[in-house]
Amino acid sequence: MTWDLELRGVTKRYDGGGAPAVDAIDLGVESGEFIALLGPSGCGKTTTLRMVAGFVVPSAGRILLRGVDITDVPPHRRDMGMVFQNYALFPHMTVRGNIEFGLHSHKVGKEETARRVARALGLVGLTAFEKRYPRELSGGQQQRVAVARVLALDPKLLLFDEPLSNLDAKLRGQMRHEIRKLQKEIGVTTLFVTHDQDEALTMADRVVVLNQGRIEQIGTPVEIYEHPQTRFVADFIGTSNFLAGSVSGGGDDPVFTTPGGLRVALTGSPAREASGVLAIRPEKIEFVESDVPDRIEARISDVTRLAGMIEYVLTLHTGDAIMIREQRRPGVEERASGALVAVRWRPQDVRFFAG
């Protein structure tokens, strides 16, 4: 199949040595997909996006758009629309002028331009604002102009560079929803860079998790969350408890043991003996009655009250510490620090990472 966007071995090295900012990225994006590039700052996600846009020249690798190699094509000929972090609206032009700019640059005729501007404004709900200047608009409105500006060109690819990081939380949530809705309506392939995992997991069809220039994992939000393939992903996405220890007795019944003596049965087969970490998410651990088999006994050592839930830090009888989160529910009492409790988890909710 032909990917809509394909990155083959795309690499970026900077002078002065050191590790590459982007290290041999391979990625294939299907038509109409919404892909989130997610990772901590410095992971190479923005550099990758800028290479796709043409503002940064790759040190190695090729970039293909609908099968055509565009690696050497200058940015103004790539037929992609980019929405910048600070919107980058032209301050000396009205909203209308901003949207017309791209159309004029592509030599679109007068009538067609007018039609497209009207359509773009309508899509983002800013029809009444066309004569305003950017400085007269709120952050959210400026954001929408930036989106309208690129939509008017019917680009083959939409690129977003952390566009929502300057908005307040409530507006951010709203804009996420709107952008995604718009994207689905139009069906344009999209690359969305963010450091906010909630954003990535709620908006994207697939998430590309990046760390230090390399891809850690590509998958749907559910896959990333429920089946992290590397320790980094397990740690970066959501929260995980990590217990150091080693696996022994390979074959059918591998068992993970911590230095404190905690033994955990693992499903699946880490095949060999290895040391590493065991990861389990707080919400996958539940409190159980003290007579349930397979339970693990622990003492509550810390209680933190958050909005809507309570976090407990437990010290297991083996000395290991884990964290549990429990939703506040009617009928469930808050437990006290120092109390003796029992917990349990399912073997399939546990992951082991060697190293």
Binding site: L65, I70, D72, V73, P74, H106, L153
Partner: protein, 290 residues
Amino acid sequence: MGELKARSGAPEGAVPYLLLSPNVLWLAMFMAGAIVMLAGISLQVYEAGKGILDEWTIQNYVQFLSDPFYRDVLWRTLALGAWTTAGCLILGFPLALLLSRLRGMRRSVLYFVLLLPLLTSAVVRTFGWMILLGNNGFINKSLIGLGIVDEPIRMMYTMTGIVIALVEVLLPFMVLALDAALLNIDPHLYEAAQNLGARRARVFAKVTLPLALPGIVSGSVLVFTLAVSAFVTPSLIGGPRIKLMSTLIYQQSMGLLNWPFGGAIAFVMLFTIFALFVLTFRLTARPRGG
């Protein structure tokens, strides 16, 4: 929309060099080239009637540096630089303190007042001083009228007069340099010092002055350079009798056509300024704490 062709036009990497090259080439010719040529000519000799001889020699430099008359000129020029710098520092600091504390409109107004003298050419300002400094000028008339002196103080055609005028001419440079440094000082430091019991004078001596040092240094180097190389003000106020390096260069090269000697004096001046830069750089480069 639009075919995706390979890149056209100049490769992206060449653009900055294309943008810079006209300017760089221009300077290479009309500044670097000229200076190099002057250096070359300073190593030749001029003979009246014969023109510039075709032999290389450091005679010009030797003459300037060994002849007591010319050495006097050198010291006098350096002294002018020193006095002017001192004057600019003393008068410039209060003004800079004021400027750095102002904000908004008032700051813009004072800033403009500072820039205004720079917009009026040196000739105009020097002419104003000629009117003020004469034996019958406004200053002397006022001093006599107020009974402070019985006879007019001679200021025109003296070094004193030159310094008075030159300090005014160069004051804006010092103020701007000091202001820039003062703005960099975190205002909370003053409050912290006062909170710890320091009175105003102590705050000034122990906090303001040391932290403003970079501005003091850069302003002083700038003013010294401009004072040592000043021509208009010293020549008009000092008159033909007071010999400084700049007036000597002019007289030798334009009056006597002795370009080689004029060039040598010019390079001694350049060297002095350069030495000052290097000295300042060495003294102010702070060793990295370890």
